[in-house]
C-alpha cells in the first residue's frame, strides 16, 4: 500500500479506521455464507456484509469434527461475487489462519468460538494485524479483554446454530447491566471493579466515561427470524449476525430480505409484522436450554 507521506500510521489512527468500519455496519445484517451463490443472495437481499465459512453452525453441530477456517477457494469465490465487505472466521488463537485471511484481503476477521479452538488459553494478538477483528463475548469482562487484545467489534456469543435466541438475549442483557453498574460506580471504585471483572482498567474507565463499550456491540448466535433480529436491536444490539437462520430456512432469499427489513426499522411493530409475514418458514432449531454443557459453543474462549 502506498499512501502520501501525510498518511498516519499511529495505532490510534489504525483503531479509528477499524472501529470506523464496524460503525459503518451498524443497523445492518451480516449473513453467514458458504459459497458465491449464497453470497449473491445475501447481497441482493440487502446484507451489509457476508461471513465466509466452511459450514454454517447448525451443520457443524450436526456433523461434528474439527471446524476450521473456510477453504481458500471458497473465500476467493465469495470475494469475487460481491462488493459488500467479506468477513471470515478464524479459530480462537489461530493467528496463522488469521494471517492467511489477512493476506487474502478479507475485510474483517471473526475469531470465533463456532470453530474448534486452536489455543485453549490465548486469543490472537489482534493489534498486530492490518484488518479488524470481531470477537464474541458473554459478559462485559470478556468483551473488554477482547477489546484489550485489539478487537474493533464485539458480538454476543449467543448459542450459534440453535436458532434459539435465549443466549444472545442473556448476553445482551448482562453486558448492558454490567455497563450500567460501571457507569454509575464512583470513580475510585473502578480499580476494584476492574480487579473483580479481570478486565483492563483503562477500558473499565472508558466504559465508565462513555456509558457503553468503546466499540460497537452486535448480536449473534441464535437469530433466526425478523422478530429475533428486532428483539436483539431493541435490547441495544447495533446490528445482527445471522448464521444458520438464513440458509437453513425454507426460503433463504425471502428470509434474508425480511430480516434486513426488520433490523432497519426494528422499533416499528407494523414494519416488523410485515417482515415476519414476508419471511420464509424459519429453521427448525434446537433449544439451547436442553443442551448438555459440553455441547455449548459459548463456553469456548474466556
Amino acid at each position: 500500500m502506498s499512501q502520501s507521506s501525510a498518511t498516519l500510521n499511529a495505532p490510534q489512527a489504525e483503531t479509528q479506521v477499524h472501529v470506523g468500519l464496524a460503525r459503518m455496519l451498524c443497523g445492518g445484517v451480516i449473513m453467514d455464507v458458504t459459497d458465491a451463490e449464497q453470497a449473491r443472495i445475501a447481497e441482493g437481499a440487502g446484507a451489509s456484509a457476508v461471513m465466509a465459512l466452511e459450514r454454517v453452525p447448525s451443520d457443524i453441530r450436526k456433523e461434528g469434527g474439527v471446524a476450521r477456517m473456510a477453504a481458500i477457494d471458497k473465500v476467493l469465490e465469495i470475494q469475487a461475487a460481491v462488493t459488500i465487505p467479506v468477513m471470515a472466521k478464524a479459530r480462537i488463537g489461530h493467528f496463522v489462519e488469521a494471517r492467511v485471511l489477512e493476506e487474502l484481503g478479507v475485510d474483517f476477521i471473526d475469531e470465533s468460538e463456532v470453530l474448534t479452538p486452536a489455543d485453549s488459553e490465548h486469543h490472537i494478538d489482534k493489534r498486530a494485524f492490518r484488518v479488524p477483528f470481531v470477537c464474541g463475548a458473554t459478559c462485559l469482562a470478556e468483551a473488554l479483554r477482547r477489546i484489550g487484545e485489539g478487537a474493533a467489534l464485539i458480538r454476543t456469543k449467543g448459542e450459534a446454530g440453535t436458532g434459539d435466541i435465549v443466549e444472545a438475549v442473556r448476553h445482551l442483557r448482562l453486558v448492558n447491566r454490567e455497563i450500567r453498574m460501571v457507569r454509575s460506580a464512583p470513580r475510585e471504585e473502578l480499580m476494584a471493579i476492574a480487579k473483580e471483572l479481570r478486565a483492563p482498567y483503562e477500558l473499565v474507565l472508558k466504559v465508565h466515561e462513555l456509558g457503553r463499550l468503546p466499540v460497537p456491540n452486535f448480536a449473534a448466535g441464535g437469530v433466526a427470524t425478523p422478530a429475533d433480529a428486532a428483539l436483539a436491536m431493541s435490547l441495544g444490539a447495533e446490528a445482527v449476525f445471522v448464521g444458520s437462520g438464513i440458509f437453513k430456512s425454507a426460503d433463504p432469499a425471502r428470509t434474508a430480505a425480511a430480516v434486513v427489513k426488520a433490523t432497519a426499522r426494528w422499533n416499528e411493530p407494523a414494519i416488523v409484522a410485515q417482515a415476519c409475514r414476508e419471511s420464509g418458514a424459519p429453521m427448525r432449531g434446537q433449544s439451547a436450554a436442553a443442551m448438555a454443557p459440553d455441547e455449548r459453543l459459548a463456553t469456548r474462549g474466556w
Binding site: M1, A13, V17, M24, C26, G46, S48, G105, V131, R265
Partner: protein
Amino acid sequence: MQVGVLALQGGFEPHLAMLSSLGVAAREVRSPLALREVTHLVLPGGESTTLHHLLELFGMWELVRERHAAGELALLGTCAGAILLGRAADERQRPPRLAVLDAELERNAYGRQRESFSARIELEGEPLEAVFIRAPRIVRVGPQARVLARHAGDPVLVEAPGVLAATFHPELGRDARVHRRFLGLAVRGAIAV
C-alpha cells in the same frame, strides 16, 4: 430548518453526535413521513447497496430526488452516502445512483479494508484528519460541482448547489467544519443557520 440523518443502516450515530455538538437536535429518518419533514438530510456511510435497497424498499429513493430537485432538501453524503449522491463512473456498477451531484464516483476504489487509511487533508487552509474506509474515489467532477478538498490529487470533498459530498468520514473526527458547511446549505423556505 429541520435536520435529519438517514438512520436505516450505517454510521448514523456519529453524525447525530456531531450535529448535537453543534447544538442541532437532528432526527433519525427511517420513513417517507420523516423524510418529508426535514430540510437537511445526511446520507451516512454504510453499505451503498444496502442503503439503496432500503431507500427503495421504504419508498424514499425517488422522494429524496424529488425534494432535492424542488430545492426543498439539502444533502450531505459521506462515503457510501456520497456514492449514492453522485453518478457511477461505469453505468453497470451497482447500486443505482441518485445523480443529484455532478460528479462520478468509483466504489471501493482504494481496495479492501486492509487498504483503508487516515490522512491529513486541507480544508479552507486548515488541516483536517480524514478517515477513509473502503472509500470511493471521485473520478470526474462536472462544471456544476466545486472541489473543496483533495487527497493525493483526488477530490475528496465536493460541493454543488444544495449538495455536499465527502469520500471520507468527517463524522468520525472532532472537526465539525464539514457539518457546519452542510448546515449552511440553502433550501427553499428555510433559513440557514
